[in-house]
């Protein structure tokens, strides 16, 4: 029993890293995704389509591979190795954040686009026929609908991101999974460290869901959060 407690305490050293990976990648990813989605919606055309294709490719490649490319491949590029960029890419932690945010951008931009195109046309027309301007229409008819439509898929995506942070240990980041793995390699005990880490991850997910639905209810008055099947 006391062994398990020791494990728990050791693994918990990685909690801060896991959480900061998660939150920082989430924020950067969302900002980038909004920009990408807004560009695609606002300026449809060849550029937007190329961006879409790029996002599509990113979505098709496993995060693990992206991590390897960035961590082991990028340092061989002179313009990364020999410029200030190296201060960022030298750190496994920032490599992980960059990869996570990048993948998050690819998935979230599609969610935002999807939510935008699901906005009922009639709502927009109603706003227009009341004489509201383009921005006012966006504010009153489109944005709330996007929130409503995008909430469930975005929740799923946030949870996926949280789970993805666990891959950062493959590039030596000592997060929850990293410490669990170290114990595993040292003691050859596979189950206990992983089960303990698993419980912590479940707690994080439960709390994240709670925070998201609370936020949603704060922002989107006049209705409860749509059923979240995620």
């Amino acid at each position: 029993m006391s062994v398990l407690l020791d494990y728990l305490l050791e693994i918990l050293q990685g909690l801060g890293t896991t959480l900061s990976l998660f939150v920082i990648a989430l924020v950067i990813g969302f900002v980038l995704a909004s920009a990408v989605a807004a560009f695609q919606i606002r300026f449809p055309g060849i550029v937007a389509r190329s961006i879409w294709s790029l996002m599509f490719c990113i979505r098709g490649v496993p995060l693990l591979l992206i991590l390897y490319v960035v961590y082991y491949g990028f340092p061989l590029l002179p313009f990364i190795r020999e410029t200030v960029l190296w201060t960022v890419f030298a750190s496994p932690y920032w490599c992980a954040i960059i990869c996570l945010a990048f993948v998050e951008m690819a998935f979230t931009s599609e969610i935002i686009r999807g939510a935008y195109y699901q906005t009922p046309r009639e709502q927009v027309e109603a706003a227009r026929s009341l004489g509201l301007s383009g921005f006012q229409t966006f504010r009153v008819a489109i944005l709330p609908a996007m929130l409503r439509n995008g909430f469930a898929p975005y929740t799923t995506e946030v949870i996926l991101l949280c789970k993805s942070t666990a891959l950062a240990f493959t590039i030596t980041v000592m997060d929850l999974m990293g410490y669990a793995n170290e114990i595993r390699a040292r003691t050859l005990d596979i189950y206990h460290p992983l089960l303990i880490a698993g419980c912590i991850y479940i707690c994080i997910v439960v709390i994240t869901r709670l925070i998201l639905s609370t936020l949603f209810n704060l922002v989107a008055v006049g209705g409860t959060a749509p059923e979240d099947r995620a």
Partner: protein, 232 residues
């Protein structure tokens, strides 16, 4: 790049692609099976069955896939081998690591598939079940002839992404030591000092597969949508 491929890495990659695709295909197949069975079980009306299935999907979709894969892989690996050891005459038989790899991938993906089928099923109007009953179909007939085809129609686009996820999931097996595409690429990258060639090939394989996947499922969707063409 040709040099590397000719010097034996080409064959390595071919076998890695074979490994990844086989594991992905089997994983996809079994996770769908799990999805259907769990959905049926959840709807069977047994006490607590729905709760059990919810617990499975909730927990499995909250835990990092890599953590689950390692846990299930070693548990299964030990369990299967221990069982084999008990059977007289089988004690010398060694099971390849692929069996537990496929099973653990399927169980992890099964949680996603279950959620997909449950959602698709819930979207089928109650009237369809009732129409089936009032025409005298048995439960099994109504399931196979009426309900599942409609669930399939509803979830095709998601099946497409699930198929892609299956392949991406095999990348995680490289951490356990299965020689899949990612493992081959990273070993190659390190031992030749030409990472961009090897990682580039791996990325290309995944992108090609993603395109194929989206094409195939868009086509399937198209075929299914023909009944929506036209008026109303």
């Amino acid at each position: 790049m040709i040099d590397y491929l000719a010097s034996g890495w080409g064959l390595q990659f071919l076998s890695a692609i074979g490994t990844s695709l086989t594991v992905a295909a089997l994983g996809f197949f079994f996770c769908i099976l799990i999805g259907i069975l769990c959905t049926l079980f959840a709807r069977s009306g047994f006490r607590g069955s729905a709760g059990l299935v919810s617990l499975y999907t909730y927990v499995f979709r909250s835990l990092p896939d890599i953590l689950l894969l390692i846990l299930i892989f070693y548990t299964l690996d030990g369990a299967i081998q221990a069982l084999l050891h008990l059977v007289p005459g089988m004690s010398g038989v060694r099971l390849s690591a692929y069996v537990p790899a496929v099973i653990s991938t399927s169980i992890v993906l099964g949680a996603y598939a279950t959620e997909l089928f449950r959602a698709g099923w819930a979207d089928i109007p109650q009237g369809q079940h009732e129409a089936g009953r009032s025409l005298g179909f048995t439960t099994l007939q109504s399931l196979v002839l009426i309900i599942l085809p409609q669930v399939y129609r509803k979830i095709i686009p998601h099946l497409g992404s699930l198929c892609l996820i299956s392949l991406k999931e095999t990348a995680l097996l490289s951490i356990i030591g299965i020689p899949d595409i990612v493992r081959t690429a990273s070993i190659g990258a390190r031992s030749t000092g030409a990472p961009f060639v090897f990682y580039g090939i791996a990325i290309a394989i995944f992108v090609i597969f993603a395109i194929l996947c989206s094409r195939i499922f868009a086509h399937l969707e198209q075929r299914v949508r023909q009944d929506r063409a036209g008026a109303r």
